[in-house]
Symmetry: C2
Subunit: 204 residues, 2 copies
DNA sequence: GTCTATAGACCGATAGAC
DNA sequence: GTCTATCGGTCTATAGAC
């Protein structure tokens, strides 16, 4: 036995067969390890050791190291794309705020998977596909910013795509330091992000 | 011969000995390659191939792959720490703006090295030392934000350390997309960052 | 017996180092 | 070019819960 305890998680449901990691709990644990040292720098052997398993056990659940990555990235992207859908039928500025709030909440709820996503560099076909989906998400938000500018609710002296990049640069950076269960809860964090992004840090 | 041309750079100074890479130009080229695929994912063999060199030639200039990383991280940190010094003797809010502008300009001027720095995860002693210096820099800026709050020029409804993290999350994200020689020059970028960070995106 | 999760020995290829 | 260690991945067999 390794350092891992309660591999299948605490929200246990009745499961047949030998106890241990199922696909889901193995995924979660692997993503945590990947985030710790980086995907490339984590060998399957090292991953297995951290999980208290053999490599073969990992390959029972996933067909390759990269498939673990692909699954996690898919989860994160599904979550992010979901916030776009939930923001229809409202003025642009309000929709933008909704998307930002939603992005923060997805980011907190799926912190490990999103963290992994944001570190992807495009080193493989899997990574490039994930980057493509991220780009499409960014473009959807950029369109929202542009609408806000045309409609007069968003400042127009900054290019829409630059503004969007800066906005999401701020939002995404949250994965670098935010840890659930700390001093600030997710709602307070979302409020702070919205405050700084929309109204700025300066007091007038 | 590989794809690399003019190894020692275009701002050439008279140099004795066999032509080719000197320590500096090798460092620059290596950092570019590291940023392309990630430090861990770049093997010394792949680096040598990209530079049109043998592995032995690399080990002539640096004693290990990690020493290349260490040198580049040192350059980036020297630059960032420099902007703190240049901002003395002014009201806090103005000093904060000066530091932000300075950070953007260092980031653009030393884009490759700073990019590498921002991706460091603490996988080795060298990386952990770099993270320690980054943390010290962040704390100095946080102190500046706190002063601004006490003095009334910075909004106080957001915790100073959260505000600083969001601020530098935005600033640092610039390495992910900004490329010198594009549509926006460094001054315009700094102006945009200051505008969004200090006054927000919303128009009122 | 069936199902799930697991271990150990092993492979060809490639890593960093010199 | 050459060293050794380690990489991602495979094969075969088995342990444990229903």
């Amino acid at each position: 036995m390794g350092a891992a305890s309660d591999p299948a998680g605490s929200a246990e449901v009745a499961r047949r067969g030998r106890p241990g990691y199922d696909r889901r709990s193995l995924l979660d644990a692997a993503v945590a390890v990947f985030n710790d040292a980086g995907y490339d720098a984590t060998s399957v052997a090292a991953l297995a050791a951290r999980l208290g398993l053999s490599k073969a056990a990992i390959y029972h659940h996933f067909s390759s190291k990269e498939q673990i990555l692909e699954t996690a990235l898919g989860d994160a992207l599904d979550g992010l794309e979901g916030v776009l859908v939930s923001a229809r039928n409202a003025p642009p500025a309000e929709r933008l705020a909704t998307v930002l709030r939603g992005a923060v909440s997805v980011l907190v709820a799926q912190l490990p998977a999103v963290t992994l996503l944001l570190r992807v560099r495009g080193n493989s076909e899997v990574e490039r596909r994930a980057l493509d989906r991220r780009r499409a998400f960014d473009q959807a938000v950029t369109a929202l910013v542009r609408e806000g500018q045309e409609q007069g609710s968003v400042r127009a002296d900054v290019d829409a795509s630059v503004a969007t990049r800066l906005l999401f640069g701020m939002v995404n950076s949250v994965v670098e330091w935010y840890r659930p269960g700390g001093a600030e809860d997710a709602e307070a964090l979302a409020r702070d992000v919205l405050a700084v992004a929309l109204d700025g840090l300066r007091l007038r």
